[in-house]
Symmetry: C2
Subunit: 118 residues, 2 copies
Amino acid sequence: MTATPDDELWSAIGDPSRCQVLDLLVSHGEVSASWLAERVPFSRQAVSKHLAVLERSGLIGRRKQGREVLYQVQPGRLDQATRAMTGRAALWDQRLAVIKRLAEATHAATKENSRNDE
Amino acid sequence: MTATPDDELWSAIGDPSRCQVLDLLVSHGEVSASWLAERVPFSRQAVSKHLAVLERSGLIGRRKQGREVLYQVQPGRLDQATRAMTGRAALWDQRLAVIKRLAEATHAATKENSRNDE
DNA sequence: CTCGATGTGCAACCGAAGGTAGCAGTTTTT
DNA sequence: AAAAACTGCTACCTTCGGTTGCACATCGAG
């Protein structure tokens, strides 16, 4: 149920630092690891590791130009990720509605013990 | 920009296993750690740790009943989480649109090579 | 061409987090 | 009272995020 094949995508996005790197890549089209490292609170090697993970998950691609390696986001895969997020959010929203409805129903039927939780 | 105060929320949700536990909690209203452990591919202790993290982030609450401890989701906080997800998804979607537009534009007019640094 | 500067990759290391197993404490049940 | 069922705590292992240091490649100036 929760274990969709998007799981790799999810764990790639799940890390806040990685998400930060991804955000930078999404904002600026094609940049190098060093460029990213200057705009992020951790070292270039850490950035590099995150880029490797992102690349392995298919979220970004690389292009070597001279001594630099330029990374850019893969629109299709990122779109897939956003869909996964939106989908889960929608599911939870829906479940939440049910929960609230149940809670109110229980609260309305105060035939048993009248107790206020929350 | 990415470092919102929802960051704790994000890292709590970010872990796939934890997300799985949360999903179960959202689906079934109020259950125990052992009950969850039977429906998840890892041990009860692991579940317990995840529950602790989720509770610390405010996403779930606990209620002791006899020898059991029943956990339930906190609707308000979960709603906040879903908003964070939806928000990020929307942002990426928007950036993606820009990227696609730029790509097409660049492809059309191959004259300029100017790039923006910050 | 040579040398320094810049950008990258690799390996070792450290601390935190996810996961497991084992044992002790408590409540329920018989 | 004793066994069963849940929970909590501790110890331990492995993985991951992060840092440091060093070697390699490329660019630019002399």
